[in-house]
């Protein structure tokens, strides 16, 4: 059946992407082997690229060189200040402001116009969090991400995120196996502690995600 063949080809193409990402360009198994499986008649003259494992990864620079994903996260003092705690964690973990605190970030976000006891952070997309990080000269991105994209994003950066159904901001330390590794100022809230699984992410979203560029 033609669809079965297309499924098999699609699987080979997906595996080919994996081979490229993992630096397996020639030999077996490899991208080259997959291409030959897809088209046995093709004549190849591979010129594989130099890999990071051969040349060494680029030296980290800027805040990324100083980033400490193990930075501590104190419990939040107020029920509405999770976003300030997440922001303070990011500023400390990146050494952009080693003395950042929940209170200093409440002030920096802008009390009471941008953060207050009634609503917490007023703009749920995180625009004010981005503004504060930007004040330190660091560019950020923001989007409403699905789990896969969010997980991949935090392979090599940090940031903050908030779930619409969670109504709670956390900072993101990185990845932990197949889960997101978070810095949570309210451990246990809605059953979430230091990691966020795919099912929790899907139950507590949609998530607005802010990440730092480097």
């Amino acid at each position: 059946m033609e669809l079965d063949q297309l499924d098999q080809q699609q699987a080979l193409l997906t595996d080919s992407l994996r081979k490229m990402l993992e630096g397996q360009w020639t030999g077996f198994p490899s991208l080259e082997a997959n291409v030959l499986a897809l088209d046995p008649g093709v004549e190849l003259a591979p010129r594989p690229p130099v890999l990071e494992s051969e040349a060494g990864p680029p030296a980290p620079s800027g805040w990324w060189a100083d980033y400490n994903p193990n930075e501590g996260m104190p419990r939040q003092a107020y029920s509405w200040s999770c976003s300030a705690c997440a922001l303070a964690w990011v500023l400390r973990a990146t050494q952009l402001d080693p003395n950042a605190s929940e209170q200093s970030c409440i002030d920096a976000i802008g009390y009471p116009q941008n953060i207050n006891p009634t609503y917490g952070l007023m703009d749920g997309s995180g625009s004010q969090l981005r503004r504060v990080v930007g004040d330190y000269g660091v560019t950020t991105g923001q989007a409403w991400l699905n789990y896969d994209t969010c997980y991949a994003t935090f392979a090599d950066t940090t940031g903050m995120m908030s779930g619409g159904a969670w109504y709670h901001w956390v900072a993101v330390r990185g990845q932990d196996g197949g889960n997101l590794w978070i810095a949570n100022s309210a451990p246990g809230y809605q059953g979430v502690y230091d990691t966020l699984t795919r099912s929790q992410f899907n139950a507590l979203g949609p998530f607005s995600v802010v990440w730092l560029l480097h």
Binding site: T14, D148, A152
Partner: protein, 60 residues
């Protein structure tokens, strides 16, 4: 929607992800947001925690 239609739809979605992944590769986005790695997870979520990236060194 018939089973065949559903499979065709899935293949179309996978092809769109493949195309996006190839663009990411061409543009040197191997890891992070909008990267080859991200599109791979979308194509096959079981790869999360399984990949060992060793991307090419970029020329710029």
């Amino acid at each position: 929607m018939s089973e065949q239609d559903a499979r065709v739809t899935q293949l179309q979605q996978q092809q769109a992800l493949m195309t996006a992944a190839l663009i990411a590769a061409l543009e040197g986005r191997w890891q992070g947001a909008g990267s080859v790695e991200a599109y791979l997870y979308a194509l096959d979520p079981t790869l999360q925690g399984q990949l060992i990236p060793d991307p090419p060194v970029l020329s710029s």
